[in-house]
Symmetry: C2
Subunit: 227 residues, 2 copies
């Protein structure tokens, strides 16, 4: 479902050019469960932003569902980001002046759902992430781990077929982490593609394939033996 | 150095009152190394904000260095926050329009250091957290783990005697986590008081005492046997 060929991403900064992704080739099949790991600064979030169509590569090709992303119209890209891909940001990116419920419901507004459908589905998702009693809190009235879970909920609300989750359990205690990982495991078992970034080996163990980045390239790519 | 007696903290929200801290009694001696753990939403960050004099309790007493914090003047509190306490926020709280170097140097401006002193010390601190080659990046030009390390650096720059670090390694890979924990271990070995919040048992193992919160109260408080 995802093919990237010789992807690079440079960031100009003052007089320098910082080469963050330095030539990545990858193929991810529909229904895979992948974990990206690697040192801080190795390019994981940058790669996730490219996969999520939130950024474009400096060079190289990204083919999603058989179509070249650089050839897609803005409308096609917006549709993909809203309905096919669910993105959990490393820094959550919640709207500060709206409640947890409204934050989670927002992607459904773009998807054209009615207000009743949005409220019902947003309540269901927030209950699934353990926040049934926090729906009317704004982000600054939530703990770090609660904000993280609102971000997870928002990514899942339109039932996307590709989940991209950047450090989804970084602020969660072990019990709550297990609950969130169970959600992702269920989504994967239903046939969807789940791609995580994590720095915790225990979380990566949920995936069937671990890809390690270092200095903007793939250092290793290992599949688990099937059970 | 820290004594808190029957501390509570309520947050009004609409018609409700949310009781977040429900009666906490604690004593922490100078030079201790303490880790707070507990479920997401149990009140750890709220307690850290009280300890860091960034918030005031709804009821109860906080005695810091033998003085009742509620009796201190605004100037005394500002002095404590700037020179005696180094605070690492769970969500970093960096100034978005200034570089890593400027963010780290900011507490020294309030402390009255000269520009040359600020630059030298800020560079030293950023080198200690592994960001020597990222000093002129702004927060949105840094990875999640790099921002976290800038936040750690800023907390250490005035050489405070009490460190309060809320999830300081939540976004770091294992090797970088070890580097940051080595920093905290050294600060503790120099006689300072280090208080962390973490959800990772391996990080908590660096401390000599683990206090677990649940639903706003202390559930357990265990000291390690001395080596
Ligand atoms: N301003 C506020 N208004 C209402 N409720 C609040 C407010 N701030 C925090 N809370 C609630 O207080 C509780 C404790 O929050 P706190 O941030 O201290 O938790 P925490 O233990 O640090 O959690 P985490 O591990 O997820 O960071 C949470 O349930 C949160 O929803
Ligand atoms: N806009 C930018 N301008 C310059 N450099 C950037 C920019 N954005 C990111 N970088 C650099 O790119 C590198 C990779 O960043 P990225 O966020 O992808 O890392 P990461 O692997 O997700 O790290 P972490 O585990 O700390 O989250 C970092 O060294 C960072 O400083
Ligand atoms: Mg990242
Ligand atoms: Mg917290």
């Amino acid at each position: 479902v995802i093919e990237i060929h010789n992807i690079t991403r440079d960031f100009p900064l003052g007089q320098e050019i910082i080469k963050v992704l330095r030539g990545i080739d990858l193929e991810i099949e529909r229904g895979e469960y992948v974990a990206f790991m690697g040192p801080s600064g190795s390019g994981k979030s940058t790669l996730m932003n490219l996969l999520g169509c939130l950024d474009t590569p400096t060079s190289g090709q990204y083919i999603l569902n058989g179509k070249d992303v650089s050839q897609m119209t803005d409308d096609e890209l917006a549709e993909i980001r809203n309905k096919e891909i669910g993105f959990v940001f490393q820094t959550f990116n919640l709207l500060p002046r709206t409640t947890a419920l409204e934050n989670v419901a927002l992607p459904m507004v773009y998807a054209g759902a009615t207000k009743a459908e949005r409220i019902a589905r947003a309540e269901e998702v927030l209950t699934n992430v353990g926040l049934a009693d926090r729906m009317d809190h704004k982000p600054n009235q939530l703990s770090g781990g609660q904000r993280q879970r609102v971000a997870v909920g928002r990514a899942l609300v339109n039932k996307p077929s590709i989940i991209l989750a950047d450090e989804p359990t970084g602020n969660l205690d072990s019990k709550t982490s297990v609950e969130i990982m169970n959600l992702f495991d269920d989504i994967h078992a239903a046939g969807n593609t789940v791609i995580l970034v994590t720095h915790e080996e225990e979380i990566a163990e949920h995936a069937h394939r671990i890809i390690r980045l270092r200095d903007g390239i793939v250092e290793s790519d290992e599949r688990k033996a099937p059970k």
